[in-house]
Assembly symmetry: C2
Homo-oligomer: 302 residues x 2
DNA sequence: AGCGCAGCATCGGTAAATCCTATTCAACGG
DNA sequence: CCGTTGAATAGGATTTACCGATGCTGCGCT
């Protein structure tokens, strides 16, 4: 339990600096009796007489008071530094931003976002994390992240979601598959084909919903939580897949040729969004990054 | 102007440590609504949301809040250290004591006082200063010294004076002086002799007063503010002197023989005292040193 | 020597902050 | 669906912070 206040320390140090209660009073813009009382209270609280009173000639620190005042000034500086840093954190675009991203989204956009944002705001550092939708939401709620880049699917009410862009899903086929001769693939054409499912929440339900809406009961031959593994499985001719994320180059990690075809049907698009906790008051930094993301995605082809 | 209080910081850090307002409330011994309000106020003042509220599940720091809290804990520790040190300074016998001494008294007593006191209280350091009576009083008033060891002569009302011991003045004669055959020297016997005056306030007036009270109009042949110079002058046969301070050994610095004789008359004794500013509230250290001085001088022959 | 001035302390009053108890509200777990 | 947990709100009492006005005391000036 602390027995003195920062205000008292502020007053005492000002009195020290100005050599008198009256001078400090004028400088601080508080009444002289206020300072007098504040000092008397502080002396009582710490059990030390800090100043010697000279009638009509100001005050001077006692030996013990001098020791206190030196340390008190350090404390005051410390407190002022903290205030300055904190006000800056609230109002300036600087400091650290904790950004999380859904694993399959991250490689396509996050490096560019970080690059463009930090070159606009050099005093910002961005800490990255990746995870499943679940982990992202948990992390946002737990205060581990400021923002998360994810698919706007099944978002609970307590998140503030800013849609950034929507992308049409595509069909991924082995390079030599017979359907590759089509420019657009109607989903019904895949009815008999084995399906390779990207098995991460919420993608799993999103992809199966697309197929079911088209009247298919997809035969899930294989599934994996890894985008690259799915592409590898398709590359091996083990089935087709439906994906949103489309890396550069139509080859799997192992080099098998892949074919990407638009879906002929009208289907629900994948909406990439930036999410934050609704109850969180945003710092300037967070708002600025949010605005930057909106800008950035507006420049991209959907 | 600081916009937050140490109390608020104390509360916020406790909430962080305990993971919930309720737990911190129990631990701090303050009501839960008090903490809740205190935290809300702090967040408003610094313009940052520090914690994310989880209904019925406590709170957790936000990313920005975490940065604040880490620094805030440092500040809190700093403030607690200052409080601990200051309370110790007021109540424990430790820290620094600023002691001044009248120049002619210092060599005879101060080293012993410091030695015995610091061996009793090893955590004490003593800073020494010497000066004329005038400088001592000015230093006490200005807060440069805690205490001063001096002669209790002409002490203004605003000093608290603790008499320690009184010493009879003695006559100092050249070793071969004819009066050395007397065991006690009546002052009247010095009537025609040249007088060497130790010329420091207040010693000067004290010595001349002694002679005048005995009906002598002393012929001041030489004077010096230095005790050792006075003894040297007497050693050279240039006159006699009246002194209180009696160094060990009856020789001047230069080696001339000196003779010390008690005064036969009843004369005003020199009173050594410890003085402090009356308005100063004493620390434990100062009181302890004062008591030690009283003890120490009680053991000495007067 | 007296008087004005400078500067700290005290007083009375008001606005604000602090802290309490009691209550409400929202989410989670069984 | 209900009980439990834990934060927020409401209302009220006490304490604190601050102000203006005034008192007090030593210093310097005339």
């Amino acid at each position: 339990m602390l027995r003195y206040t920062l205000r008292q320390v502020e007053h005492a140090v000002a009195i020290w600096d100005h050599g008198s209660v009256a001078a400090a009073s004028a400088h601080l813009g508080v009444a002289q009796p206020t300072l007098s009382a504040s000092l008397a209270k502080l002396e009582e609280q710490v059990g030390l007489q800090l100043f010697i009173r000279h009638h009509a000639q100001g005050v001077s620190p006692s030996p013990a008071g001098l020791a206190f005042l030196k340390e008190a000034r350090n404390l005051l500086t410390h407190a002022q530094d903290l205030q300055r840093d904190t006000l800056a954190a609230g109002t300036a675009v600087e400091g650290q931003l904790s950004l999380a991203s859904f694993a399959t989204i991250a490689p396509s956009f996050v490096p560019q976002l970080i690059k463009t944002f930090t070159s606009l705001h050099p005093k910002v550092t961005i800490r990255m994390a990746e995870g499943t939708q679940d982990e992202l939401l948990r992390g946002l709620r737990g205060g581990d992240f400021d923002l998360a880049l994810l698919y706007d699917v099944d978002m609970p009410e307590d998140f503030a979601v800013t849609p950034l862009a929507s992308f049409a899903p595509h069909v991924l086929l082995p390079g030599k598959h017979k359907l590759t001769r089509l420019k657009n693939v109607p989903l019904i054409a895949l009815k008999a084909e084995p399906f390779v499912l990207l098995d991460i929440a919420p993608s799993r339900t999103y992809f199966t919903r697309i197929l079911e809406n088209a009247g298919l009961a997809p035969k899930v031959a294989f599934s994996s939580p890894s985008l690259e593994v799915v592409r590898g499985l398709v590359g091996q001719g083990l089935g087709y897949s439906i994906l949103v994320t489309r890396p550069f180059g139509d080859h799997s990690y192992a080099g098998e040729e892949l074919a990407v075809r638009p879906i002929a049907d009208e289907v629900e698009r994948g909406v990439i969004a930036l999410a934050g906790l609704r109850q969180m008051r945003k710092t300037r930094l967070v708002s600025a990054f949010e605005a930057h993301c909106v800008d950035y995605f507006r420049t991209l082809p959907t």
